[in-house]
Amino acid sequence: MHRRGVGAGAIAKKKLAEMSKQLDMFKTNLEEFASKHKQEIRKNPEFRVQFQDMCATIGVDPLASGKGFWSEMLGVGDFYYELGVQIVEVCLALKHRNGGLIMLEELHQQVLKGRGKFAQDVSQDDLLRAIKKLKVLGSGFGIIPVGGTYLIQSVPAELNMDHTVVLQLAEKKGYVTVSEIRSSLKWETERAKQVLEHLLKEGMAWLDTQAEGEAQYWLPALFTELYAQEITPEEAKEAIP
């Protein structure tokens, strides 16, 4: 017969009480840290990176909840959650141009423009962290590594390894052809064509049949000429729910 009050249950209750006390102490430590370094975190992208990396190492996610201590006392939450909203808006506004794929650099430039002169500096690392959080909302946010940087996906289109690899190949020139895919990746024509057609269907690639030689598949997300172009008022309307 089990005696109540003894055993794992009682130990757990004790530990819970201990955690409650330690939590209060930790809160005090964090408040002290915040009073000295809160500004540093908000102003210095590198310090943010160090902060985030250390949190990850010990198994803590400072951005999990707006109700978390990190958010409440250091203000990191508001910084990233607001950035998330700005990222969603830029992606929505430009979706019809690029099919829902955008280079991290372009996203960065557009977000900075939207933030105006007096807003805090936002780094590409900040954008990536905000995007990782947005994934959980189910609207298809994804991060695709290409050529030393990243393509950001913002639509729920299925992009598998084949698609990703072709995007990486296209990154160098902004476009790709079936021959290039065959020679670089050693694929059959059919496989190459399937991938390209999928990208066309999703509006992520445009077909140039008038190109010299063979047809070229262009990725609007990779056009640098469009980078500096302002978001038009019509596009901005698309961005606001």
Partner: protein, 357 residues
């Protein structure tokens, strides 16, 4: 141009890419050279230029060689330029395309725009001199503010203790030997929430929900009633995230907060619910909303027009393309529509096999 060295173009350990721009020509002082169309990359340590036609051709100059930079505005038929004044090349410099040059500056000509952003970034990097803090090839980073770093490390030590403690509590709960009450489990979850520790407890009450999420769910039900009615009874979770956070202004919700609160809507018997489509798209619907009924009216609309893409349907009905597509996909799943999937896009037709059999 004799300050440049040949390079593979790969970034070194500790070196980070800051910005890159296509369509840049290099000039040796006032003279054009063969490097007329390339991608210019700015890293924390170097300025790298890679030929767009021949990727093997790649040169770089360390940022430490830069004395100062100037902007030259675009003119008629002329691109905007950045003039980069350089120190003389070091004697131990790696070999490059030019042995000597009569100029002590180069010009970067931005034929495809991007000059303004690039100039801003380059100025920042030259001012911050990050290459001094991050000697490439090493993994040690020297922090500019050692006190902040030290304080941060101490704080993380304490946070780590909290993580360890929470793990041992979670193990006890998992073992199911405890008299842990439901209230205590909820308390524990709220501790985890405060610290940002992922919930390891598999025995769930209300999902990852805590009292905070319950309150939030009720708030959302109040806040979203009108916006939902204005949008035909349905909104994507991303739309909700933006709407709610813009309204709050401060103390914003994290995406996870929103999802966890929405997961509780149904069990709290609130007039909204969370729905997840096959595609993974998540929406909030009014309880009174019936997507399957909307499908019937969607079928009418498509029939009237013969056929529609998601974009066309969205414009006609005044919905977001994301939700328009989901409705058409649902209609297809229910057998009312069939698709024509071509390179011109995905188009939906009334399913005549069903109606005319």
């Amino acid at each position: 141009m004799d300050r440049f060295s040949w390079t593979s173009g790969l970034l070194e350990l500790g070196e980070t890419l800051v910005v890159q721009q296509r369509g840049v020509r290099l000039c040796d002082g006032e003279e054009k050279v063969k490097f007329d169309m390339g991608v210019l990359l700015l890293s924390t340590h170097r300025l790298i230029w890679r030929d767009q036609k021949n990727h093997e051709c790649c040169i770089a100059v360390p940022l430490s060689q830069i004395v100062f930079i100037e902007e030259q505005a675009a003119g008629i038929g002329k691109s905007a330029k950045i003039v980069v004044h350089l120190h003389p090349a070091a004697s131990n410099k790696e070999p490059g395309p030019f042995q000597s040059s009569k100029y002590s500056y180069i010009k970067l000509s931005f034929k495809e725009h991007g000059e303004i952003e690039f100039y801003r970034r380059l100025s920042e990097e030259i001012t911050q001199r990050r290459w001094e803090n991050m000697p490439t090839g090493q993994t040690i980073q020297v922090n500019k503010d050692p006190q902040a770093f030290e304080d941060l490390s101490k704080l993380m030590e304490k946070a780590k203790e909290m993580v360890e403690l929470s793990k041992s509590i979670a193990n006890k709960i998992k073992e199911k030997q405890g008299d842990i009450t439901e209230d205590e489990t909820i308390r524990f979850k709220s501790y985890l929430l405060s610290m940002g520790i992922a919930n390891p407890v598999t025995r769930e009450t209300h999902g990852s929900g805590t009292h905070y999420h319950m309150q939030l769910a009720k708030q959302l039900a109040g806040m979203l009633q009108t916006p939902l009615e204005e949008r035909g009874g349905i909104m994507s979770l991303t739309e909700v995230y933006c709407l709610v956070n813009r309204a709050r202004g401060l103390e914003l919700l994290s995406p996870e907060d929103l999802v966890n609160a929405c997961k509780m809507l149904e069990s709290l018997k609130l007039p909204l619910r969370l729905r997840i489509f096959d595609s993974g798209v998540m929406v909030i619907e009014l309880q009174s909303h019936n997507e399957e009924e909307m499908v019937a009216s969607a079928l009418e609309t498509v029939s009237e027009k013969g056929s529609l893409t998601a974009d066309e349907f969205a414009k006609l009905v005044g919905m977001s393309v994301l939700l328009a597509k989901e409705r058409l996909l649902l209609a297809e799943k229910m057998g009312h529509l069939c698709r024509d999937d071509s390179v011109e896009g995905l188009r939906f037709y009334p399913n005549l096999f069903l109606t005319q059999s």
